[in-house]
Symmetry: C2
DNA sequence: GGTTCCACTGGGCAATCTGTTCAGTGGAAG
DNA sequence: CTTCCACTGAACAGATTGCCCAGTGGAACC
């Protein structure tokens, strides 16, 4: 797409106070309402803003344990494994990757003990040769995009 | 916290159409506006809803390559490395983990070639013994929470 | 120089939503 | 039988939204 400084500031404002409306946005940016509206529309239809989903904290839902599992898949079974993993609610995210593992997935569980259950369920399908799991202890940098936005807007 | 079916449906609705207001929410849930309002407030102040940040797509910003890097850290250098990584815009997320690696971070880059630059910058600090990177090819399950919400609400 | 295009401004309008308050209902707990 | 609590349904003023329009200024093009 292409993002200029105004778009960048708009995204920052939205990130800080997501529930503010277009009017308030335009006031803080110092532009006319129509402009803020237009920029927002452009960012949304251009795919830069994918949505405004509520960010749900799994920990607050009773799933305080996060882990990443690297899965090694038997040749040709990828599709089955993908479909299987998609049915497991505790699988929050799944990627296929290059490198020694073939897939990487983010899991949550109610406890370390419960993680065992989740992993059993994850690997409970033909096609997974090996799984190695890393439990998350700390999350020094939670998922963020603003620094990237700032960089994309400045260049 | 604790989530009942109504909270669950509310979160689902919000996930589908995040810009709808409380009034519309209450209509679709078939409850009074005050109720929807109260539920939403409870979820927000209870930490279940962390926010409504705009979800920015790095790909649309010009960063279509995603990778996960596993970092092995020299004893006692953790804090320095964390601080360093926090300054790199292309580091979207950072976790400290158990297992063979000590940290796992999510990176984005403008291209595979650009990824080299990012990784050089990431490892350009004392304290990182080894880094192994897996480039993401596909993302069969993008970050999601709704299935988990549904499970938490049903039990 | 003259013309066209485009983003932006600033304004106005009706319709809608928000924040807030209030009285009343029904179920659960004591 | 009483208290508590979540929910309902309604009301109100004030703010916001979606929409439309005329005017301005800069950049690109002829």
């Amino acid at each position: 797409m292409g993002i200029d400084r105004l778009d960048g500031r708009l995204l920052e404002l939205l990130a800080e106070e997501p529930r503010i409306g277009v009017l308030e946005l335009s006031r803080r940016l110092g532009v006319a309402r129509g402009t803020a509206q237009a920029r927002l529309d452009r960012l949304t239809s251009g795919g830069v803003i994918r949505g405004f989903g509520p960010e749900v904290d799994p920990a607050a839902l009773g799933y305080p344990v996060t882990a990443f599992a690297t899965l090694e898949i038997k040749q040709g079974q990828g599709a089955d494994v993908r479909a299987h993993l998609a049915t497991v609610p505790e699988v929050l995210e799944l990627h296929t990757t290059t490198g020694s593992g073939d897939m990487l997935c983010r899991l949550v569980a109610r406890s370390n003990a419960d993680l065992q259950r989740v992993i059993d369920r994850v690997v409970g399908i033909e096609g997974i040769v090996r799984a190695s799991t890393a439990i998350v202890m700390e999350n020094p940098v939670p998922l963020r995009v603003i620094p990237l936005v700032r960089q994309a807007a400045t260049e």
